[in-house]
Every structure is written in structure tokens, then in C-alpha cells.
């Protein structure tokens, strides 16, 4: 396995890093969509995520990585076992960050009959797909706007229900598939369907840094990494560990973070001002603010947190005005000014 470029070594791009971190703190925020120019480190950030995530315990040999301590939301085999007294054998592993490559066929995504077993022993067995592997982790689609429509629909469906149902070749399998969907794409390569966009909790725009010092730093680090990936990753190990511990603490603290009425009202006001449709925006806003507070080690989600995360939580939910030159980020900023005052 090639050493990936460390997340911590990404220069700038704070909003993208924040969004990914918060989605790791609270997966229920519901996915991150990253829009950006070419070569801005979108894929690098997502691939570097795996290292940042606190390790999890999974049931030994369970292809879905079920949690040993839980009794609900498990796969068929683990649900049966959960009723028995002795806890199943388990092991620690890294949180899966699964790549869904372009050109993937549906059978590989949802799972299908195991070809090898069918051919060699003429036996019907289910071979779990990428959705199974992504359970409890992240599913990453680069260039999501180029993915085939029928796959996109399928992903939306599974991401929303948290369960994958397979009916093929006389097999009938259902298994948990709870994952954080992370997509990235370049708007120049094609637009994303609004229905899909809306399913992402957060949306961030990344741009190439335009100041020289930052750019030099980007190239320098990239160059150092290319020359010796291991040494480079080693150099950033402490930084990576720091973020990981903060995420871990954030998760533990998450339930204890208070969301005062004032914050709820402000969130509602913001959504009203921007005319976002539905409750999803408001919910995401509050969850993300809470995750931000938890990650920062604060006791309550305040206006400050709300302000920091509102653009990411709302900019993709605004009613489209294609002829409005002012980007949606600008519109969110304006609403923030109005709700919170200058």
C-alpha cells in the first residue's frame, strides 16, 4: 500500500478540512460534497481521512464490520449472534474509507453472487460489494458528476436508509450500509443534479490558493512527499495524531454539547432568511454547529459556531438563481450579517 499524503499536511483549504472533520465527529451530519478547481487536493484530503479516524472495533470475520457491542442495526449473522450471551470475537481496525471508482458496475457496488465460488465449487454465496465495505465508514466518489445516473440513485437510496437490500440470482440479502457519503467534483466538468446535491449535509468550495507563499508551500510539500512518502508522512505524524485525538474527544463530548434556544432560533432565522426548502437545512445547521462545538471543546453550540459552519451547511440548499452572478456563498454571508448583525 502506498503511503497517502497526510491530511494534516494539506496547506490551507480550511473549510474543506473542517467539513470532513465535522462529518467524522458526527456522521449523522450526512455527507460532504467538495466542489473545486483542478488540483486543489480534493482527493488527497479524502484519502488522507482514513488515518485521522479513531480506530473501531469490528466483529471478527464480519464482512460488514459490525460493532461487537451493539445489538441493533447489525447484519443477519451478527444479529443472530447478539442474542447469545458471550460477546463475539472482535478486533480493532481502521475506519473504512472506500473509493467508488468511475466505471464500477452495479454488482460490485451492491454486492452479488460470488463468481469465484460459483465457478470453482458451483456454490451460491453472496459476495458483499463496496457498500458493505463502507459500512461504518466513508464512501468516496471522485468526479461524482460523471457517475452513471442509476448508480447515483442507488447510492442516494442506500445512504438515506442505511441499509442495502440485494435481490439477485435468487439471493436475498439485506445488510447495514451506514456510511458518510463524500463526493468531489469540478463544476466545470458538469453540474450535479439538485436532488443529489441536497442529500449532502455539507458542501464546500475549494479554490486554488492565489498567494505566492501558500502556493510555494503546496508545491514544496508535494515535492517532498513525492520524493519520499514514508519520511514525509512520518514528519506529519504528530499533527495527524493531534487531529485524531481531537476528533475522538469531539465524539465523546458530542452528546453533552448543549444547543441553547437562542442558537436554535438563530438557525431557524437564517434558514428563513435564505428561503431554504425543508427542514433538512436547519437540522444540518444545528448538528454541524454542535459537532463544531464538540470538536473545539466548547460546552454549547453558539452563534460563533453557527456562523463558522453556515456556509457549508446551506450554500447548496439555496434556490438556484442561475443568472445571479453573486455566488450562493455570498448570499449566505449576507444573511449571516443580517441575522447576527455586523
Amino acid at each position: 500500500m502506498k503511503t497517502t499524503y497526510p491530511f494534516a499536511a494539506i496547506v490551507g483549504q480550511e473549510e474543506m478540512k473542517q467539513a470532513l472533520i465535522l462529518a467524522a465527529v458526527d456522521p449523522s451530519i450526512g455527507g460532504v460534497m467538495i466542489f473545486g478547481d483542478r488540483g486543489t487536493g480534493k482527493s488527497t484530503a479524502v484519502r488522507g481521512l482514513a488515518e485521522l479516524l479513531p480506530r473501531i472495533r469490528v466483529v471478527e470475520h464480519c464482512p460488514y464490520g459490525c460493532a461487537p457491542e451493539r445489538t441493533a442495526g447489525l447484519c443477519g449473522a451478527c444479529t443472530g449472534r447478539a442474542k447469545d450471551a458471550p460477546p463475539p470475537k472482535s478486533r480493532q481496525t481502521t475506519v473504512p474509507v472506500v473509493d467508488l471508482p468511475l466505471g464500477a458496475t452495479e454488482d460490485r457496488v451492491v454486492g452479488a453472487l460470488d463468481l469465484e465460488r460459483a465457478l470453482t465449487v458451483a456454490e451460491k454465496a453472496f459476495e458483499p460489494g463496496l457498500l458493505a465495505r463502507a459500512n461504518r465508514g466513508f464512501l468516496y466518489i471522485d468526479e461524482v458528476n460523471l457517475l452513471e445516473d442509476h448508480l447515483v440513485d442507488l447510492l442516494i437510496d442506500v445512504a438515506a436508509s442505511g441499509e442495502n437490500v440485494v435481490e439477485r440470482e435468487g439471493l436475498s440479502v439485506r445488510h447495514p450500509a451506514r456510511f458518510v457519503l463524500v463526493g468531489s467534483g469540478n463544476p466545470e466538468e458538469g453540474e450535479l443534479r439538485p436532488q443529489l446535491l441536497d442529500r449532502f449535509g455539507l458542501s464546500v468550495d475549494v479554490t486554488t490558493p492565489d498567494d505566492l507563499a501558500t502556493r510555494v508551500e503546496v508545491v514544496r510539500r508535494r515535492d517532498a512527499y513525492e520524493r519520499d512518502p514514508e519520511a514525509f508522512a512520518e514528519k506529519w505524524k504528530r499533527q495527524t495524531g493531534k487531529i485524531r485525538r481531537a476528533i475522538e474527544k469531539g465524539r465523546e463530548r458530542l452528546d453533552a454539547v448543549d444547543v441553547p434556544d437562542a442558537t436554535l432560533e438563530q438557525a431557524a432565522g437564517l434558514c428563513m432568511k435564505l428561503g431554504t426548502d425543508g427542514l433538512r437545512g436547519e437540522l444540518t445547521l444545528i448538528r454541524t454547529a454542535r459537532a463544531a462545538a464538540a470538536y473545539a471543546g466548547d460546552e454549547a453550540a453558539t452563534a460563533e459556531h453557527l456562523r463558522a459552519i453556515a456556509p457549508a451547511a446551506l450554500r447548496h440548499r439555496l434556490r438556484r438563481n442561475v443568472l445571479d452572478d453573486a455566488g450562493s456563498t455570498v448570499r449566505v454571508e449576507k444573511a449571516l450579517e443580517e441575522v447576527f448583525g455586523a
Binding site: 490551507g12 483542478r38 454488482d107 460523471l146 466538468e189 452572478d325
Partner: protein, 605 residues
């Protein structure tokens, strides 16, 4: 073929003539760091360039050609069915991406490459592995290859997908390529082989990196990749020269070969901004935590090498690059200012997937139904591996095909509509009407956007018609060119119809379905030759309109006259077009009319 390159005003071997060959040599030293984009029709020089690449790569390194309509199977790999059936276990056939490991891929007709194909190539290139998740097989195959793209695009709209172009370090234009005629390869295979071995030990001093990044920025290269590629090129150049660290000369070579041909703007004439920029920023480094500890030391690489003065180097690079910026770039840039970064991705527009026409682009699992066609061969292929299992389950037939095996052919149609707005900006279409027409067009634009159509804009006034905006999907550009549209002057209607028909036929050749939307009062008063002759103008306009009808181009005339004009209706009739008076018609009604007139090309069921 020893005719000395007969370029006017040229004497003796001009320095830089063999630049494309140098680029190829640098690519052969570091295939993954470089990559070449050759924009030219097939020519002896292009063949020579390819031959020199072949000669410089190690003999066992693959150099594989990727056809433009390559299937996912061939590109990514898939199940090798004959071998699988023979062996009785799944056997994977490597695709081109995995087979190119250690060598290079040649992308043919890159300007026509579909964006998803390009995205797959780029993904494997970046990740250095092929992620194969197809038809019962999941594999990750490590692969590290270089890219050479052949771009045979004829005009500005035919470009390789930007994502691909961005990953190619050396962009060789037709002029630069033609100039290599008769040039001897600057490096031998042995020199390249030695350099390749030396490459991992070659360092690039911090000052060189800084100067290259600054130069890339000064020439408007927003993406960070050109800078990274320039750094890699400087390293390869140093390796070729037998140095252990890149010097000013290597940096200059890199800037000339990587940055100059891609320049998007010329550095502002004010004193070079680099030096000042370099003095302060270290104070405001990226995020503080980034700097705090693992302060990336500029790799004690200066050891032994002479000190490089970053300011002087930045200036030197600026000059070297400037001198190498292709001729005529300035003019091209001034009228293409808003379309920086390539704009649309080649010609591969939005493709309707559910269509029965167009180019087949592979198969997918699914039931054949209305709008889908069963692919019998692929279906049988899909069924084949499962036969032993099904036989065991007691299927009586010799071949058991089940619903899961059904494969339907996917067709790709570069369809969508190109809506061409032809706006009358003459004096007769008084200014207020012009404003209304603009309003209507804006509304229509929003609709085109929703349908992902391409839009183009022709305006006519005075003595001629002008294509203000070639077909694009960029709304912002359409809006901008509309806003800047001045009014006044005569009404050269015939010229406008002629011009728009040309654009329409051109759009059709590209595989889109054209729709002409005229916004005019139909009162042409300027003949084709520019004379103010009402009668001739009218006859010619009708004549031109009939040509539109003859070509069966869908059209709509929106009458912008103060009250419905017989002239406009007449024009519409000659064109076989729909007619809609604008007066009192609200924009929504106009929108409706256009929608009704819009042809529906292969938009499946």
C-alpha cells in the same frame, strides 16, 4: 526530407526549435512527472516525435495506444471470459491502464475523448493504481504510467478535456511541432537511461521551486499542477545534464517548456511582483499549526551547490518564459479573456444516456425495455460463468440465461440542443425593445441551463452579423456578452440569417441539434453587400430563410416589433419556423414558445 525548415526570416538553427523533442526526452526520463500534449494534425513531425519517444523509453517499457472510443473493459480491465471458462475460476484481463505500468499511454484523438474516459485515465494516473470494480471482479492494480495525448482539434472549441490537459506538462502546439522538422533528437537513449537512474537522487533547491511557482502564477496558471510539473521538469533536466541538484539553467528550461506554452496571461508590466511577494509572506504562513513543528526544512539541498539568488532567478525565468510564449498568444488571449482555462470540455457535451442512436459506449446490466436494446453477445457472456452453478441447480437447458444476465447497450449521444439566439440590435429594434429582447433571452437562458443546452449568440446591426458567443454551456458568459450588446444602425437581416445558419450547421456537425431563435422585427434594410436597399434586403432575407428551411434547422421567430409585423411572420414562414410576437407576450409565454419549438433529439422515453 532535408529541406531546411523554410520559415521566413529564419537563419540557421534557431534556439528552441527542438523544444518539443526536449520535452519528450524529459518525459522519457520521468514519464509520470511529465507528459506531453501534442496539438497537431497527423504529420511527419508528429510521427518523428512519437518515434523519438519510443526510442528513448526503455525497450521493455510499454507504449500503448488508447483509441478514443475505448470501452471500460479495455481501459480498466475485466473478466477474461475464455480463460475463465477454461480455468474454471475467474481470470482477470488487464486493461490498458494496468498494462501501461512502467511505460506510457498514447491517447489518440484526445480532443474527442469523453470526459468519463478522461476521468478514469486521470484517476489511475493520480492514484497510480487502477481500481477495477466490474462484473464480478474487484482488484486494485498498481500502475505508474506517463501520458502523451494527441490532440487533432481544429478550432478552439475542440480541446481535450481540461482535466486531462491539466495533467500534461508539455503542451506542444502545431507551430512548435512543425519547427522541429529536420531537428536531430537532442538526447540519446543512453543519456536518457543514465538520467533516469540518476533522477531519484536529484534535488530541487527551494529557490528554484519558489521561482517556478512564482513564474507559473505570473503567467496566469491558476492550477497548481503546472508548477508541480515545472519542478519535475527541472529535476529531469538536471538529471539529463548530470547534475545532482537543479540549477538556474534547469529552471529556465522547465519554465520555457512547461509554463510558456500554457501561458494564459502575460505578467503585468509593473516591476516583477515576485521579489516583494517573497519577502513578506513567510510571516503569514498557511495555518499556524502547519508551521508549528514539522517545519519542512528546505531540504538541506544547497549543500555544495552554489547559492541561488531567488530574486534574480525569478526575473530570469520570467524573461525566459516570456521569450518562449508562442507568437500570437497575446491577440488570442485578448479576445478569449473570459474563456480562460479552456472553458467547456472538448466537444463531448452532455450526453443523453438513454438513447438508441449515437455511439455505443459499452453495456450495463438492466432489463431491455422501451428505449433500451438487449445486447445478446454481452448477455451470453454475462451468463457464461454461471452455467456450472445453474446446471447443478438443475436447470435442464444447455444454456440458462436469467434476468440478471441481461445486458443492454448504452448509447452516448452528444446531443442536447444548441440554442442560437439571433438578436436584432439595429436601430429599428428601438432600444427599449432591445432591452425587452435581452430580458427574454435571459429567461430563455435559464431554461437552456436547466436542460443543459448549449447556447450561442449572434447579434446583427449596421452592415453585418457577428457571432458574439460561440456555443457554450457557460451562462455567465452568455449573459455577459448579452449585456455588452450595443444597439443602433441598419438591419442586415440576410447576413444575420446566413451567419446563424452557418453556426447551426456547424453545431449539427458536432452532434448537437441546433435551434435558431430570432429576435427581430423582420424589417431588414441592409442587403448582403452592405447597401441600404430595402427591397433587396427583403428578398435576400427570405432567400436566406428558405435555406434554413431546406437544411431543416428548427427555428423560431420572436417578433420584437411594436405590434405584430407581417415581415417577421413572413420570415418565419420562409424558414418553416414558429412565430411568436413579443408585444404583450410576457417572457413566460416566449419561454413556452421556445420550449415547444425545441427539438427533442433522442431524449429516450
Amino acid at each position: 526530407m532535408n529541406a531546411p525548415a523554410p520559415r521566413p526570416g529564419e537563419e540557421g538553427p534557431e534556439p528552441g526549435r527542438d523544444d518539443p523533442l526536449r520535452a519528450v526526452a524529459l518525459t522519457a526520463v520521468d514519464p509520470h512527472g511529465g507528459g506531453v500534449l501534442v496539438r497537431s494534425f497527423p504529420s511527419p513531425e508528429r510521427d518523428a516525435l512519437l518515434a523519438s519517444l519510443r526510442a528513448l523509453l526503455p525497450t521493455d517499457a510499454p507504449l500503448l495506444r488508447v483509441p478514443v472510443n475505448v470501452s471500460d473493459d479495455r481501459l480498466l480491465g475485466g473478466l477474461d471470459l475464455p480463460a475463465t471458462l477454461r480455468a474454471g475460476r475467474p481470470v482477470v484481463a488487464k486493461g490498458l491502464l494496468a498494462s501501461a505500468d512502467g511505460g506510457m499511454l498514447v491517447l489518440a484523438m484526445a480532443e474527442r475523448m469523453a470526459r468519463d474516459t478522461a476521468a478514469q485515465v486521470c484517476a489511475a494516473f493520480d492514484a497510480r493504481e487502477v481500481a477495477l470494480e466490474r462484473e464480478g471482479i474487484g482488484r486494485r492494480m498498481a500502475t505508474r504510467f506517463g501520458l502523451l495525448a494527441l490532440d487533432e482539434g481544429a478550432d478552439d472549441d475542440e480541446r481535450p478535456p481540461p482535466a486531462l490537459a491539466d495533467r500534461l506538462a508539455f503542451h506542444v502546439g502545431p507551430e512548435a511541432l512543425a519547427a522541429t522538422r529536420g531537428c536531430a533528437p537532442p538526447f540519446s537513449a543512453e543519456e536518457v537511461a543514465v538520467a533516469r537512474a540518476r533522477l531519484p537522487g536529484v534535488t530541487v533547491p527551494g529557490a528554484v521551486i519558489e521561482a517556478l511557482v512564482a513564474t507559473a502564477l505570473a503567467f496566469g496558471l491558476d492550477s497548481i499542477r503546472p508548477a508541480l510539473q515545472a519542478v519535475a521538469a527541472a529535476r529531469a533536466s538536471a538529471a539529463l545534464a548530470g547534475r545532482s541538484a537543479a540549477t538556474e539553467a534547469d529552471a529556465a528550461e522547465a519554465a520555457r517548456l512547461v509554463l510558456a506554452p500554457r501561458a494564459l496571461r502575460l505578467p503585468s508590466s509593473e516591476p516583477p511582483p515576485e521579489p516583494e511577494a517573497q519577502d513578506e509572506p513567510p510571516e503569514e504562513p498557511p495555518p499556524e499549526e502547519d508551521r508549528s513543528e514539522p517545519e519542512p526544512p528546505p531540504e538541506s539541498e544547497d549543500a555544495g551547490e552554489q547559492e541561488i539568488d531567488p530574486e534574480a532567478l525569478a526575473e530570469l525565468l520570467l524573461e525566459a518564459t516570456l521569450a518562449a510564449v508562442p507568437e500570437g498568444l497575446l491577440e488570442k488571449l485578448s479576445d478569449a479573456a473570459p474563456r480562460r482555462a479552456g472553458g467547456e470540455a472538448g466537444v463531448s457535451g452532455a450526453r443523453t444516456k438513454k438513447a438508441l442512436r449515437g455511439r455505443p459506449v459499452g453495456v450495463r446490466a438492466g432489463d431491455p425495455g422501451p428505449g433500451e436494446r438487449l445486447n445478446v453477445v454481452e448477455t451470453l457472456r454475462a451468463a457464461a460463468p454461471w452455467q456450472p452453478l445453474r446446471r447443478r441447480e438443475g436447470a435442464g437447458r444447455r444454456i440458462e440465461v436469467r434476468g440478471e444476465d441481461f445486458r443492454v447497450t448504452r448509447y452516448s449521444q452528444r446531443s442536447a440542443t444548441t440554442t442560437l439566439f439571433v438578436v436584432d440590435a439595429s436601430g429599428s429594434a428601438a432600444l427599449q425593445r432591445l432591452a425587452e429582447a435581452k430580458g427574454a433571452v435571459e429567461l430563455l437562458l435559464a431554461d437552456c441551463y436547466a436542460r443543459r443546452d448549449q447556447v450561442a449568440l449572434v447579434a446583427f446591426r449596421g452592415t453585418g452579423a457577428e457571432l458574439l458567443l460561440p456555443p457554450t454551456r457557460s451562462l455567465v458568459r452568455a449573459k455577459r456578452s448579452l449585456q455588452g450588446l450595443p444597439g443602433g444602425g441598419g438591419t442586415p437581416l440576410a447576413a444575420a440569417v446566413d451567419a446563424s445558419l452557418r453556426v447551426a450547421l456547424d453545431a449539427r456537425r458536432r452532434g448537437t441539434t441546433p435551434l435558431l431563435v430570432f429576435l427581430t422585427d423582420g424589417r431588414g434594410n441592409v442587403a448582403r453587400d452592405g447597401r441600404a436597399d430595402r427591397a433587396a434586403a427583403r428578398a435576400e432575407a427570405l432567400d436566406a430563410a428558405r435555406a434554413v428551411a431546406a437544411e431543416r434547422v428548427a427555428a423560431l421567430v420572436i417578433d420584437t416589433g411594436r405590434r405584430p409585423e407581417a415581415r417577421a411572420a413572413e420570415l418565419a414562414e420562409a424558414m418553416g419556423a414558429g412565430y411568436q410576437p413579443l408585444p404583450f407576450a410576457d417572457a413566460a409565454a416566449v419561454n413556452e414558445a421556445v420550449r415547444a419549438a425545441t427539438p427533442t433529439p433522442g431524449r429516450g422515453s
